[in-house]
């Protein structure tokens, strides 16, 4: 359920910018890396993103409005392994600065209002416990009430073992939340970031209307170590990657991070019956500096303006 091979562990634990890119090994200045949206400019490796980084890359400045989640059982089993579960939670909260693995909020992307959820691998492996399930449900509820599309960015190891069967039943809970959404015409988009596995992939993440994956994202139901324990099969290199999932017909698109924002907006408008007039995709740079200055930056801004105009037209027509 949690990713476990040494190679994978090494990849996520490497401190970015200090040891160089974990994929190509070359050193990239942290500022340069941030400017390229945490994508290695030399080899294209997509570094893992924290919740705040993801929000700052996708969401219009100042539009994020968090959705409160409370009334959740925090330790239903009084779970204790080598440390009590509340201590692990506390440690995760301190190291990430997040209250839980799932952040939900209302925001706009290029002026298009969405309900956005982010499941962060850096918080206890992005595992799905009661708080994550409830966060997903409240976000879905908000999307239904406000009639805005639901977008979720996932990176998760699966279910949260420390909550036992409660965590398994969160799979059921998220599916039930989507049953409510299915009674409307609100689109649901998922962005599968590295890694999305186990109970998260086998519930809401694979039930989206459109499934986008980030390049190189690991997508599987069962991890290589459990597979080897059960079937003695060796997992070949590159197995279960986003690119292979595209070939097997599991995902709709593999979109590099630099194009993600624009692709999302395009899809959000089209799926709500509007006409997208973005034209060619211009790779996104960091929103500050690079985003404003330079030819590509200005062109991107122009097309974003067009998108906003298209969106406004759509809203007027609906009214």
């Amino acid at each position: 359920m949690t990713r476990s091979t040494d190679a994978v562990a090494k990849k996520t634990n490497t401190t970015m910018g200090v040891d160089g890119c974990p994929a190509c090994g070359r050193y990239i200045a942290p500022e340069a890396l941030r400017d390229s949206l945490m994508v290695c400019p030399l080899c294209g490796y997509h570094h893992p993103l924290g919740t705040l980084q993801r929000i700052s890359q996708l969401v219009d400045d100042g539009s994020w409005e968090g959705i409160a989640v409370d009334g959740v059982l925090s330790d239903p089993l009084n779970f204790f392994d080598s440390r009590p579960y509340p201590a692990r939670l506390k440690a995760a909260q301190l190291s990430t600065g997040l209250p839980e693995a799932f952040a939900a909020g209302r925001c706009t992307v290029e002026g298009v209002p969405v309900g956005l959820g982010i499941l962060d691998f850096q918080f206890l492996g992005g595992s799905m416990g009661a708080a994550v399930g409830e966060g997903f449900w409240r976000l879905t509820e908000h999307c239904i009430i406000d009639h805005v599309p639901l977008v979720v960015v996932t990176s998760s190891g699966g279910a949260r073992m420390q909550e036992g069967l409660f965590s398994l039943l969160q799979m059921a809970k998220t599916v039930m939340a989507l049953e409510e959404l299915r009674e409307t015409t609100i689109p649901f988009l998922v962005v599968l970031a590295d890694p999305t596995t186990g109970g998260v992939l086998a519930s809401f993440a694979s039930l989206a209307d459109v499934i986008i994956a980030e390049p190189g994202a690991q997508l599987w139901f069962t991890g290589p170590r459990v597979r080897e324990m059960t079937t003695r099969e060796r997992t070949p290199e590159g197995f279960g990657s986003a690119e292979e999932a595209l070939k097997c017909g599991h995902v709709d698109l593999v979109v590099p991070r630099t194009e993600l924002r624009q692709r999302l907006v395009e899809l959000l408008i089209l799926l709500q019956g509007g006409e997208s007039v973005l034209g060619e995709i211009i790779p996104q740079r960091r929103k500050t500096a690079g985003w404003r200055a330079g030819g590509a930056g200005r062109a991107a801004e122009r097309s974003a303006g067009v998108a906003r105009a298209a969106w406004n037209w759509l809203r007027r027509r609906d009214r």
Binding site: L77, S82, A103, L165, G199, L219, F221, R227
Partner: protein, 302 residues
Amino acid sequence: MPALPGIGYEEEIAEVQGKLQALEGLGLPTAAWKTVAIARAQKRPQFLDYIPYLAPDFVELHGDRVGGDDRAIVGGVGSLDGRTVVFVGHQKGHDLKERQLRNFGMARPEGYRKAQRLFLTAERLNLPVVTLVDTPGAFPGLDAERGGQAWAISRTLQVLAGLKVPTVAFIIGEGGSGGALALALCDRVFMLENAIYSVITPEGCAAILWRDAAAAPRAAEALQLTACELLELGLIDGIVPEPRGGAAGRARTMARRILKLAVDTLTELRGLKSSELCVARRRRYLAVGLSSGPDQGWSQFP
């Protein structure tokens, strides 16, 4: 170590002692671990042992209508106490030959698609569904992964979630993770007394959290996977008692008890309109993990 003035080691000592205590007796059998052994016993009755007693006129239906027929999941129609019911369940197999045929009850995507198709048939013909769950988990092989295991499971969950007919699940042996939930997302969920239902195998949990598969007995206890514990937590609706010594070799006795509970439950659920059924099911699963008291687990982000 002589303590320096102003420096105390009490906290560290207490922590190390706690760790030591946690390590001692790591592999000792716990009560939960014994239940795990009973639930997995080869001689324990399985789907095909119960079905002649539950529905003597059972007709097995095959195939997922896409590309295969998974023998790890068995399904078909039969009359339960005079009324036709669609049965779906896992079959692990008893001897090595059957176990290989049934892939030890670990279903591939074809199996879940077969289940979906049978559930939808049940809905179209307005027949209730009874599932018998007994699997270590969904098959983790490379072919299953390429076939879209996660996609097959989530779609099965979705079909069950929206089904307009009553559904009842019995966990008869091992209820392992997503592979079990795919057949257990029902209006009512019952467990046999010595069955287990868990998010992960105790071995897997031990390997990840204790970094030692030998800690499985301890993990089994911590996961609270037995029928009694899950009933107390309010996650299942009832327990089917087993004779002294467990269900092994007592298929007929157990089938009679399962039959009675299934008939009673279906009679109760038949009184509901299909819309009421769906709303109640939705409400039930949306409430999992919520606290009734003032326990504030989490607050707003950011």
